[in-house]
Each structure stands twice: as C-alpha cells, then as structure tokens.
C-alpha cells in the first residue's frame, strides 16, 4: 500500500511545466511518427471521400479538431465518474452530441460548405481516430495532456487530408481552394485535367504515395522482418 502511495507521490511531486518534453511529444508525434492516417491507418474513409477540394478538406479537418478537443476534454474531466461497463457508449454519446452541434453550426454559418460535406460531418461520429484517442488516452489522463493529444492527432489527420486534397484538386480540376491556378495557356497546349484524380481511388493512391515518402525519409518507421 505504501509503495503505491509513494509512487503516486512521485508522479505528483515534480510539477510538470505546461510544455514539458512529454507534453510536446503529444503534440508532435501524431504529425509524423504516429500519424493517425499514415501510420495507424485510421480515418481512411473520410480521407478518401472529402479530399476532392481543399476547402472541404479544410472544413472537415477543422470540424474533427473541434469535436476531438471537446470530446477529449469532456471525457478526461469525467474519467473518474464514468462507469467502466458503459464507457464506450458514454464516449459515443459525447462524440455524437458534439458532432450534431458542429453540423448545426455549419448549417447556420457556412451553408454551402455544409451542403457539400453533407453526410460526412455526421460520419465524424464513426471516425476511429476520435474513439481511439478517447479510449486510449483521455480516459487515463488529465485534461491538459488530453487537450494536447487531441490537437496533435487532429492536426496529424488534418495535414494529410489537406495534402491529399491539394494534389487532387490541383491535378483533377486545375484549381486550389476553388480558384483556377493552372493557366489557360496550358490547356491550349493540350494539357488535360486528370479526371481520375476526382475519383476516390486516386485518394488511396495519393495516401499510399505519402506513406511511401514518409517511410523513406523516416527510417525508424521501417519494420524489419
């Protein structure tokens, strides 16, 4: 018993700075070494579906960020109150409520984007990244690290989404954020937009190429067999 108390004391004792090394890792790891999409291969569904245009991808990434911060904070605050037998359903209720809230706000303030995202905002509920972080992190950690963890993972998800969207929109429709960037002169010389880029398979291939580049640069990710 005293051992446990001592251990607890030891954890509590040194007051951690807000951005300690450990906390910083929570923010930066998901961007590269532990990226939710390219390493954990979660949230692939939405990465395929809403990366045709940068604007949609951006709003989606932002929505996931908001939902994730909210859910992680709430679950972390309530972690000692949630009965373990119903914890998954409690997490689901919290995530679903936040998603509906985001959906309503989008409908009220950015109607055209919300129409394009349509069902995919609702599908944030089933985004494995969010449930995964709640179960794996927020349930066992204090609010501040959970908050950082949410930002880190949402950013890791978001930058991949936006990177894929940039490639798809640029080569698929010659635009970025809805503005024409490929000059008309190119088309006169026989340049064509790649129609395949608009379709979901190209998103998969683009994600695949990003994973390839990432593993080539970051050698500790290469598994040895």
């Amino acid at each position: 018993m005293s051992e446990v108390a001592e251990a607890a004391e030891a954890v509590k004792e040194p007051k951690e700075p807000l951005f300690s090394k450990k906390n910083k890792k929570l923010l930066t790891d998901p961007l590269n070494d532990d990226n939710p999409i390219t390493i954990q291969v979660l949230g692939i569904c939405s990465a395929l579906a809403i990366t045709v245009q940068v604007k949609q991808a951006f709003v989606m990434a932002l929505s996931v960020l908001v939902v994730m911060i909210g859910a992680n904070l709430i679950v972390s605050w309530m972690r000692n109150l949630i009965p373990s037998r119903v914890r998954i359903i409690v997490q689901l209720v919290i995530v679903a409520a936040l998603v509906i809230l985001v959906d309503q706000v989008l409908k009220a303030f950015v109607y055209d984007v919300s129409k394009q995202l349509s069902v995919f905002v609702g599908l944030i509920i089933t985004n494995c990244i969010i449930m995964g972080r709640l179960e794996a992190f927020a349930l066992g950690n204090k609010a501040w690290p959970s908050f950082l963890d949410a930002i880190g993972n949402a950013a890791g998800y978001g930058w991949i989404l936006i990177a894929v969207a940039v490639v798809r929109e640029l080569f698929g429709s010659g635009k970025l954020w809805g503005y024409q960037v490929v000059p008309d002169a190119f088309y006169e010389f026989g340049y064509f937009n790649n129609g395949l880029m608009i379709l979901p398979p190209m998103a998969l291939i683009t994600v695949g190429i990003i994973i390839w580049i990432q593993r080539a640069k970051n050698t500790k990710l290469i598994e040895e067999h």
């Binding site: 000692n80 109150l81 949630i82 009965p83 373990s84 037998r85 119903v86 359903i89 409690v90 209720v93 919290i94 409520a97 509906i100 809230l101 309503q104 706000v105 409908k107 009220a108 303030f109 109607y111 055209d112």
Partner: protein
C-alpha cells in the same frame, strides 16, 4: 463512491442523456432562424440562376427584390389563385410533389424584369433514379422559348445522373420551345443520350448513362408546364 454499482450506472446514464438532449435541443432551436434564412437565400439564388443572374448569398435578397417584380400562384387548372397569407415564394414544390395530389398542389410563377424585358420562371419538381430532383425553367417574354434552366438533385449517381446540375446539360435547353407553330402545346422531351436533336425545337439530348434521371427531368418539365399552358396562352394573346 463505487462507480461500478448498478444504481450508479443507471443514474449516470440517465443524467448524461438528459443533459446532452437538452443541450442539443437548445442549440438546434437557437440556430434554426439562421438555417431557415440560408435555405431561403439559396432558393433565391437558384431562381435567379435560371435567368443567369449570379448572386452571392449576401446579395441574393437584394437582387431577388429588384428583379422579381411579380409572384403568381396558379391552381392545377391554370387559374390564378390567391390563398391568404401565402406568396409563390413560400410554396415548396418539392414537398408538395411528395405529399399532395396533383390537383391540390400550388403552381408558382415568378415574373422577372430587367430593363423592360420580362422572363417567366417556373419551379419544377420530380423524381430521378434515387430520389427527388427539382429545378427552375425560365421562358422569354414570348412565353414560348426557353431562356435558361437550372436543375438539382439530392442523390443521383455522381458522374451520370448527377450531371443534370452541370451547365453542359442545362444549357442544352436554351432556345427550345414549348408551343408548336400551330400554337398547340408540345412539351420539351429529353431523349436518349447521344441522339441528334439539332433542328428539333422540342427535344433535348439526355445524359448517356443517366437515362432514368434524364427521363425524370423530361417528365418533370412536361407534367409541370402542362399546368401553365392555359395561363401562358391567355397572356400571349393579351400581349399581342
């Protein structure tokens, strides 16, 4: 406190659900006016788009008030009706198409005027392959030739039926007419994709691979315009 007791679990779940439900109900209620306004502005944008007036949501209301000079409601027999407290703009043709019998529906007509030139805009509602389709068709002042159209859909197949909301398809209707030279109503028909329709003022080339959606568009135009024929004919004579 033992958080794993049955009674605690029940109490916790009940409180959680009540808190979440009231928070959502509150949010939905307080955001509703803004959401309704967005739907209204989008409708105005669509109506204006059929006469090739581009409007951002911010300027939709202003342009709508400026250009749409008259709103008329017709009964199924083509008579002008004026139900109390209802304007043509309030009529949701898609909803009425789904819930009301043909004889009970209202048929709105918007009169557009710019520089003395009038256009007549008719809202349309019908069904495609998977779900509802709708749109607006605008006629020139002669109430015969098509000035412009706009269509949209809820769930048509991307790349096939969903193409009805693209300019390529919508522009094919421009210049077509709904009255034969004898003066009889001859509806615009959407024919099988790839057909040669040049020179035929009553046929439009459909979308290859989107046949059922294309046919839905044709059916929607034929059925709806038939109601407006008596009104159009009466007013064509009057303006001559």
């Amino acid at each position: 406190m033992d958080v794993n007791k049955n009674s605690y679990t029940f109490a916790f779940s009940a409180i959680l659900v009540i808190v979440v439900a009231s928070a959502l109900a509150f949010a939905a209620e307080s955001l509703k006016p803004m959401q309704k306004q967005n739907v209204k502005l989008e409708k105005m944008q669509n109506i204006l788009a059929s006469v090739k007036i581009e409007a951002t949501p911010e300027e939709a209301q202003e342009k709508f008030d400026k250009y749409i000079v008259k709103q008329i409601l017709l009964s199924q027999k083509g008579e002008v009706i004026a139900p109390e407290g209802m304007t043509a703009f309030d009529v949701d043709v898609v909803k009425e198409y789904k819930t009301l019998g043909a004889e009970n529906r209202n048929y709105p007509l918007f009169v557009f005027e710019d520089g003395g030139e009038k256009k007549y805009i008719v809202p349309l509602a019908g069904k495609g392959l998977w779900g509802p389709i709708w749109g607006y068709i605008a006629f020139n002042g002669d109430m015969n030739t098509v000035y412009g159209t706009t269509f949209d859909h809820k769930t048509e197949t991307p790349g096939l039926g969903a193409e009805i909301n693209q300019d390529d398809f919508q522009n094919k209707f421009i210049g077509k007419s709904i009255f034969a030279s004898s003066g009889d109503y001859e509806a615009i028909d959407v024919v099988k994709g790839g057909s040669d329709v040049s020179g035929n003022p009553h046929e439009v080339d459909g979308i290859s691979g989107g046949t059922i959606t294309s046919k839905g568009v044709g059916e929607m135009i034929q059925r709806t315009l038939a109601v407006y024929v008596p009104y159009f004919k009466g007013n064509q004579k009057a303006s001559l």
